[in-house]
Structures are given as C-alpha cells and as structure tokens.
Amino acid sequence: MLLNVKELTKVYGQFCADCLLLTGVEQNTTICPRCKSVIAINRVNFSLKGNEVLGIVGESGSGKSTLLQLIYQDIKANSGQIIYNGLSTTQDTGFDLLDCTTTERSFLRNIEMSMIYQSPTLGLNYLFSAGGNVAEKIIGSGERRYKVIRERVIRLLKRLELPDSRVDDYPDAFSGGQQQRIQIAKALSSSPKLLLLDEPTTGLDLSVQAKLLDLIRELQQEMSFAMIVVSHDLGVINHLTDVTMVMKHGSLVEYGLTDQILEDPQHPYTQLLVSSIL
C-alpha cells in the first residue's frame, strides 16, 4: 500500500467530545448540534496501492477537497493517521504525514506528491513564466543544472502539447485549458509517486475536458503513479478511476470498484447520485 488513511478527522470549531457521534451520514449533518463545530472529515479510512487511481465523489461540502488538502498537507488534520509508504527507507514502518517536520513536509510536497488544483490560479505562480513554474518544482526536487532543468521544462510542456516557443510566456497569456496543462506539467515535473487532482477539468470546455482527461490517463499509464481524483462529475470518475469512494457529510458512504459503484450502487445516497446523471 502506498497510502493508508486511518480515522482521519478534521474539525473547524472547538471540537467537543460528542462532535463525531452527532454528525455524519446517519445524522444527516456536518454541524455538531452541541458546539456548532463543522466536522469536515469524520473518521475516514481508506488505502491506496502503488499505481491505483482512486476517485472521490460526493456533493458540494461533503469533504472531498478537504480530504485532498489534508493529504497534501495544505491543512492540518485534528486526529487520525496518514501513513505514506513511498519512501524506500521507511518501507517497513511507514511514515505518518501528521507527525512530519516542516522540512519533511516540503520534501514530500516537492518530490513525493503533487497537487493539481481546480483553478490554475491556485497551483501556478503568475509572477513566474510558464517554464519558471515548471522549473520551480524541478529545482525543489534538488536539480541544480540549468541545462537539465531547461530541457526537462521544454520536454514536459511539449508533452502537454504546449509549443516550446511559448515556454517563457507568463501564465496569464495562456487560455484556461492551457493554464491547466501548465499546472499538470508542473505537477509531473518531479516524477511524483502520488498525484492529487482536485476537480481538474471543472470549468473547462467539454471538448478540452475530454482531451485533458485522455492526456492524464495516458500520462498515468506511462509514468505509473497513483492518483486520487476528486470530482462531482461521475463521467470523469468513470473515465479515469479504478476504485471509487462516495462521501457525504464528511463520512465515507460507499467504497468499491468504480464499475461496481456506477452499475450497482448499494447505498441510497450513491443510488441517488448515479440516477441523477444527466
């Protein structure tokens, strides 16, 4: 297993003793009636294999993106464990992301995993050129030779179908779809073992969406990294993922093979979700 998530919990508010029991799917709320805290993630458990693609679906506010941000260490969890087994030296014991130092944290974020945000404005630095953005991640992974960095930047941007004549243009000179591709190039530049995608194609034109999804799928098979894809679009999930988990009110509702979940949903909420596809 590359990643083991155990009893992961994230609470916004004072977090009283009854928070976790009084919220969730059965209680049909994320707000604790006693202390009014918001339980964004309520004791979530799952694991991910080496080059598996996991999809997370659920309605807005169900905690999908929060879960991703917790794994990427953008925000700190309240309790639970995120065990990462990707480091060869800690193969036996695993490495708890919640206990790591800031140095280890930046190592993990620079080399081991990458995040692709819904909006390129979150993932890109608009003061740096397109090439500079990709270079930042390559430099962060320890490379200090200009020629190597430059060649890798151009190769990656080319792979994502951006012309190499535009390497030194700034991100705001690109279209939305192109900006998203720059973001993907940046994320892949350190050859991560785990790629986190937060609604990667939402807000893009349908034709662009399809092309981008194909590209992501291709790259995943080519470089064989694990992915966690968050989306509320079941089409995206169906296209990209092997395994799917359904979330509601911060809790895990259903977990299984993507085909199984889409063809034969067990939980009433999943049934509703699948039947509501346009």
Partner: protein
Amino acid sequence: MIKRVFAFIDEDAKKEIRRNLLKAVAIPGYIVPFSSREMPVARGWGTGGLQISLSLLQEDDCIKVTDQGCDGSVNAVNIRDFITSVSGVKATVNTRDATIIQTRHRIPEHPLTEDQILVFQVPYPEVLTMVEPDMAKQKQIHADSDYSKLWVLLYEDTSQYGDSRISNRYPVEINSHYMMDPSPIPKYDIARLNNSPALQLFGAGREKRLYAIPPYTRVTPLKFNDRPFIVEDFKGKSCKRCGAEGIFLDEIHTTGSVHYFCSDTEFCDNKLKEAKDAIER
C-alpha cells in the same frame, strides 16, 4: 552636569545589540531582529552599521568609515567624525590600521585580517522580498532552506537574458543553509565574502535587523552548477590615476570619453604613495 556615555549609546542598549550580534554570529546568515534606537542620523543613512560600530567600540580601537570605497564622501566623513567625537577613538582611512571598518556597498581592496571587523550598512536585509513579500512565508522558507523561488528568478533570467540580471545585492548562501542579502556590494566583492579572516557584520537600522558571517565561513553565490558566476569585467582597463589593474574600478563618463578610477580611494592613494616612495628612494 550630565555625564556623557562612551560611544553615544547607553550600556543597556549596547548590551542588547551585542547579544543579538552574538546570536547572529552563532547562526551564520540568519536575520536577527533588534531594537534599533534613534540615532542623530535619519534611519536609512547607515544607522544599522553605526549602531553595530558604536556597540563594539573600545577605547583602543581605530575606526575607518568608507562609502562605496570612498573615505572622503560626505556620509563617510560625517559618520566618522560623529564616532570619534562621541568616543574619542582614533580614526583612519588606512584599511591596514583600522580595527573596525564601517562600509557602505564595498569591501576594501586591501585584504582584511583576523583582528578586523567589517561592518556593512544594509538597506534591505531580506533576500526574499523580491520573490516572496509575505514575512511569515519568508521565515518558513528560511527555516526549510527551500529557496526554489530564488532559483526560479535565476532560471528565468538565464533563459531570457543568458545570465542573472542582478548586478548588486547578489543572493549568497551562507554555510550551506541560509540565503542572505550581502548588502548592495558589486558582484566583484561577492567572492571576497567567502572564507574571510575578518568577522563580517551587517546592520539594517531602518529595518531593525542584523546578521553576520563569522570568520572563515563558506559563502557561495546563487548559481547553477553548470553555469559560471560572472562578475564585473575590467579586462584591459586600469585606473587613470594610479594605473592599478584587476581591481574594482569606477566608470566616469565625461563629455565624449570614459575614464576609469579605483573605486577604493584608500587603495589608490596608497598605490600612488608607494610609487612616490620608491622614486624617492
């Protein structure tokens, strides 16, 4: 009658500055905040360097103050006069005789020794301001020693202009951890920060920060492994006054022609004097 304090600053303030200097020396390249008292000079006119010099000064010290290599500039003369008037210590223009050298934007040409302290006046202490304006994030970057943003700046300059566009205040790495702003010294002086026998102290009075490079510390400029670090080139040029070559020269444009002079006036004067002495002998 009011008893005058030696070297202007009261003992408690001096103690605070010295303690912060000790911390700065203990963590090479780390920026230490300090209180930065009022000086009879406006902030931003060398008050950081002045406070360091005054807090270190002892009766048997000999002070030299230089401004971009020139001992005769208004700022240098006034700061030197101020220091001697409040402390009574000897002043000199001769780099060899000085025990404390306060400088603005240059390192004296004459090699320094273990017995000397070089005090830099610093306008902007934080090397990261150009890539990260958020102070909390700057601290985090320093703590993690994760300077990829500075490297991206170098990458972009290299890809678009062939080399870094930074001409002075060139970022340097101290003792393989902190990136530091060396104050606006030219690139020519960057190599001379490295492995210096003299203690080098940096004070920014307006920004209320000080930092240090202890003697014999490794100082390396920000540069790619496969690219050279290019400094100002004065090949084929020499000082019009003393004829010196291979040192940092000032370029003076007059109508129709360009002349070069030593940036370090003391070095130039010394060279002339040596030549004169040789003739007399």
